[in-house]
C-alpha cells in the first residue's frame, strides 16, 4: 500500500513509534560507549560516505565546468538546458555531502564560498547583479573570483546566472559576459570540491584522525570524542534541515491557519531545486547512518532505536520527494503543503530520536547535544 503522508499520519507516526523507545530509555541503566565498535564505524563513515561524497561532488563540478564551457563556446537552448541540468546535479551532490560541516569544509570559508545561504538582506543578490550590470571582468576568472565576496562565487550566484532576470540571454551572443562569469563560478566550485576531496583523501590527514582516536590524535583524544563528532553530524544536520532550510519559507500552521509561506526565501527556489536539496540532505544523512553501521554502536536491547531512526528517514525522504514542482506552487497547494507540515513535525521527532534516544543509548549521555559545554 502506498502511504499517503499527511499531518494526521505524522501524528499517528509519533504515537506509534514513541512508546517503544521511551520505554527502553526509562528502563535501561546508564550506557557505556562500545569502544570496540567505534573505530570501525568512523572508518566506514570516511571510506564509504565522506570520501565518495566529495568524489561525487568533484565529478559533478567537473561536468558543470564542461557544460558551462560548451554553452559559452556555442550558446544555444540545448546547451543552456545541459548546463542547468549539470547545475542541478551539483546541487544534489553538494546537498548530500554538505552535512559534513566540519574540518576542511570550515577552513578558508569553503562552505560559504560554495553555498552562501541564507542571503538575508539580498546582499549577495545585489552583488551578483552589480557584477552582471558592470560587466566586472575580474569576476570571469576563477582566481580573481575566489577572493571576492563569498556571496558571488558559489551555487547561489550560479543559480542566478542560469535562472535569474536576463538568463535567457545565455541562449545567444548577448549572454557572453554572463556565461563567462558562470563558467568562472563553475571552475571555482570545482576547485573547492577538489580541495575538499584532497583533504579527506590524504592518508595522513583528517581521515587518519577519524579512524584512530587516541592521545596523539589531533582531533579526538578518545573514542567518545569521535563518537560525539559523528553523531553531531546527524544531529546538527537534522537541525539545519528543520530550522535553516524548511522554516525560512514555511513555518507550519500558526494559530490554526496554515502559514502562506515565503517561497522567495527558499533555498534554490529559482531553479526549483528546493525540495531536491532537502531530500538529498536527508538521503545523505540516512546513508551515513546506515553505511557507517552506526546501529552497531547500540546495545543489543536498544536496536529498535535504529529502526525508528530509519523509519523516520524513509518517511521524510518520501515526503520530500512528493512535494513536487516549484516551491511557490507547492506552498499554494493543500496536499503538498500538508507534506511540508509532515516534514516539519517529523524532523523534530527525528532530532529527538538521535539526540536523546540514540545518543543516550550509545553512551553519550541523555540528551547528547546538551553536553557540549559552551
Amino acid at each position: 500500500m502506498r502511504l499517503r503522508f499527511s499531518l494526521t499520519l505524522g501524528l499517528l507516526l509519533l504515537a506509534v513509534v514513541a512508546p517503544a523507545a521511551a520505554q527502553e530509555g526509562a528502563t535501561l541503566s546508564p550506557r557505556a560507549l562500545d569502544e570496540a565498535a567505534l573505530p570501525g564505524v568512523m572508518a566506514k563513515a570516511v571510506d564509504y560516505f565522506i570520501v565518495p561524497g566529495y568524489r561525487d561532488l568533484s565529478r559533478a563540478t567537473a561536468d558543470l565546468v564542461e557544460a558551462s564551457a560548451a554553452l559559452c563556446a556555442t550558446p544555444s537552448a540545448p546547451a543552456l538546458e545541459a548546463t542547468r541540468s549539470a547545475f542541478s546535479d551539483v546541487v544534489r551532490k553538494w546537498s548530500t555531502i554538505e552535512i559534513v560541516r566540519l574540518g576542511p569544509a570550515l577552513e578558508q570559508n569553503r562552505f560559504e564560498r560554495f553555498l552562501f545561504y541564507p542571503d538575508r538582506k539580498s546582499t549577495g543578490l545585489k552583488q551578483v547583479q552589480a557584477i552582471l550590470a558592470k560587466r566586472d571582468e575580474s569576476a570571469t576568472h576563477a582566481e580573481s573570483l575566489k577572493v571576492k565576496s563569498v556571496a558571488v562565487q558559489g551555487l547561489g550566484a550560479f543559480e542566478y546566472v542560469l535562472y535569474g532576470t536576463g538568463a535567457e540571454a545565455l541562449n545567444g551572443e548577448d549572454g557572453r559576459f554572463r556565461c563567462r562569469y558562470g563558467m568562472a563560478i563553475s571552475e571555482n566550485l570545482k576547485s573547492i570540491a577538489g580541495e575538499l576531496l584532497a583533504a579527506w583523501e590524504e592518508p595522513e590527514g583528517i581521515q587518519s584522525a577519524w579512524k584512530a582516536p587516541g592521545p596523539d590524535n589531533p582531533l579526538f583524544r578518545d573514542n567518545k570524542e569521535a563518537a560525539t563528532e559523528l553523531l553531531g553530524v546527524l544531529v546538527h544536520s537534522v537541525e539545519m534541515v528543520k530550522d535553516q532550510r524548511l522554516r525560512p519559507f514555511y513555518d507550519g500552521a500558526i494559530d490554526g491557519n496554515p502559514d502562506k509561506g515565503r517561497p522567495k526565501l527558499a533555498i534554490y527556489w529559482r531553479s526549483g531545486n528546493t525540495m531536491a536539496s532537502i531530500g538529498a540532505n536527508l538521503r545523505g544523512l540516512q546513508t551515513l547512518f546506515s553505511i557507517a553501521g552506526m546501529e552497531n554502536l547500540l546495545p543489543g536491547d536498544s536496536r529498535s532505536i535504529a529502526g525508528s531512526v530509519n523509519f523516520l528517514f524513509k518517511a521524510l525522504i518520501s515526503a520530500s520527494d512528493r512535494v513536487e514542482g516549484p516551491i511557490d506552487a507547492a506552498l499554494a497547494d493543500n496536499k503538498r503543503r500538508s507534506r511540508l507540515d509532515f516534514i516539519a513535525l517529523n524532523t523534530a521527532d527525528l532530532l529527538d530520536r538521535l539526540n536523546r534516544d540514540f545518543g543516550g543509548a550509545i553512551g553519550l549521555g541523555a540528551g547528547f547535544s546538551f553536553a557540549d559545554g559552551d
Binding site: L106, R120, P218, M240, L265, A366, G367, A371, D372
Partner: protein, 360 residues
C-alpha cells in the same frame, strides 16, 4: 527580514505552555526560602523541559521555576535580589526572577538583529542588567543594557570591542565590565556552528560602564589564536581570572587558565601537563572562592574539577567528576555540578547546565 529572531519568538510563545504561564501569574512565582537557598542553576528535566532551580549549601533543590527554553548562565544582584538566567546562544530570551518574592518574573527578548550569548551581569546598584549579545549581521559583540526600574526595558547598547563575547563580569568598584570575547564567529542562520575556527580573534576587554568606552583590550599571541577566552571571574585582590577552550589540535597542550589586573599584560598559569591534559583543552566554567583565595575549574569534556591556589597558581586538588558542569564558591572550596544531576554530594533527576550562581 530577520527570520531567526521571528522564529525564536514564535517558538518561544509556543513553548511557553500553560503551566509556565500560570507560574507567571501566580503570587508563588518564586517561593524561595531565602535562608536555605544559596545557589541557583539552570537545568534540563527528564521530560526535556527546562528550568531554574535554587539549591541549599548541600546541593538540595529548594525551588524550581520553569523556563520556556534552554538557559545557560545566570547572574544575581544581592542589592535588588534579582536573579537572571540567559538563554543559551543563540537564544533570544532572558528571565529575571525576584528571589525575595517581591515581584513577578520578567521575561525579556533580544532586540531585532541581536541574540544573547548566555551570560551577563548586574550593575553594582542592581538597577541595570548587562547582557552579552551578538550583532550577527555585523559579526560584532555587543552589550545590551536593560533598566530594572522600567521592567528591564532595553535602554541602550555598546560594543564589547571583540567578536563572539561570552561571559562577562563587573569589577568590584562597579565601574568596569570585564568581557571574555571568545573570538568565534557564529550566526543564528547556522545554529551553533563555529564559522571562523581558522581565523579566530579571541580577546579580553575592559569597558567603562558609564561611557561604554574601551579601557583595555588584550588579544592573544598568534600561536594562541585558537584559544577561545570564554569565562571570567574576579579574585579577592581584584585580579581577573579567565578560562579558555581550545579549538586547535586536540593533541596540543595549550595554556587554559590565566589572569591579569588592569594595566597588566595577560599571564597564563603554567599548569602541570597532566592537569592540562585532564582538562581536555576545555574549561567549561571558572569560579573564585575569594575567602579562601582559590580558583575552581570544571571540564565536562575531561570529566574533572580542578582547584588552584589563586596566589601561586598551584594545583590544590584535582578530582574526577563525570560530566562536570558548573562551579561556584562554597563555604569551603567549591560547589560542583554535573550534567547527570550531581550537585555537591546530592543527586537530583535533572541535567545541570554549565553554570552555577551564588545567591548568598
Amino acid at each position: 527580514m530577520n527570520t531567526g529572531t521571528l522564529i525564536d519568538r514564535r517558538s518561544f510563545v509556543k513553548m511557553a505552555g500553560a503551566a509556565w504561564l500560570a507560574t507567571l501569574g501566580s503570587r508563588r512565582a518564586f517561593a524561595l526560602e531565602r535562608s536555605d537557598a544559596v545557589f541557583a542553576s539552570t537545568f534540563m528535566a527528564p521530560d526535556g523541559g527546562y528550568g531554574i532551580a535554587t539549591l541549599t549549601e548541600e546541593g538540595e533543590i529548594v525551588e524550581r521555576t520553569a523556563l520556556p527554553a534552554r538557559a545557560h548562565g545566570m547572574a544575581f544582584s544581592p542589592v535588588t535580589c534579582r536573579a537572571v538566567a540567559f538563554a543559551r546562544r543563540p537564544g533570544t530570551y532572558a528571565m529575571i526572577l525576584a528571589t525575595d518574592r517581591t515581584a513577578e518574573p520578567v521575561v525579556i527578548t533580544a532586540a531585532e538583529g541581536r541574540h544573547f550569548f548566555g551570560h551577563g551581569c548586574f550593575s553594582a546598584d542592581g538597577r541595570l542588567l548587562y547582557a552579552t549579545e551578538n550583532d550577527f549581521s555585523a559579526n560584532r559583540g555587543m552589550i545590551g543594557v536593560y533598566d530594572g526600574t522600567r521592567g528591564f526595558a532595553r535602554i541602550g547598547e555598546f560594543p564589547t570591542y571583540g567578536i563572539g563575547p561570552h561571559d562577562m563580569t563587573l569589577s568590584a568598584d562597579g565601574r568596569t565590565l570585564v568581557i571574555a570575547n571568545g573570538g568565534i564567529e557564529t550566526h543564528p542562520d547556522f545554529g551553533r556552528t563555529k564559522l571562523n575556527l581558522d581565523h579566530m580573534e579571541p580577546s579580553l576587554t575592559l569597558v567603562d560602564t558609564a561611557t561604554g568606552t574601551l579601557i583595555e583590550k588584550h588579544g592573544l599571541p598568534p600561536e594562541l589564536k585558537q584559544l577561545s577566552t570564554r569565562h571570567v571571574d574576579i579574585g579577592a585582590d581584584g585580579r581577573i581570572w579567565f578560562a579558555c577552550q581550545y579549538e586547535g589540535a586536540r593533541d596540543d597542550l595549550p595554556p587554559l587558565v590565566g589572569y591579569f589586573a588592569k594595566g597588566e599584560r595577560l599571564s597564563f598559569v603554567p599548569l602541570p601537563e597532566s592537569t592540562t591534559a585532564a582538562l581536555a583543552n576545555y574549561v567549561g566554567a571558572i569560579a573564585i572562592n575569594r575567602r579562601e583565595d582559590l580558583v575552581g575549574l570544571t571540564s565536562p569534556k575531561g570529566n574533572v574539577a580542578v582547584t588552584l591556589d589563586a596566589k601561586t597558581g598551584a594545583v590544590v586538588k584535582e578530582e574526577p567528576v563525570a560530566d562536570a558542569a558548573g562551579v561556584a564558591a562554597a563555604k569551603s572550596g567549591f560547589a560542583v555540578s554535573s550534567y547527570d544531576g550531581q550537585f555537591i554530594s546530592r543527586r537530583s533527576p535533572v541535567a545541570w547546565d554549565q553554570h552555577i550562581v551564588r545567591l548568598a
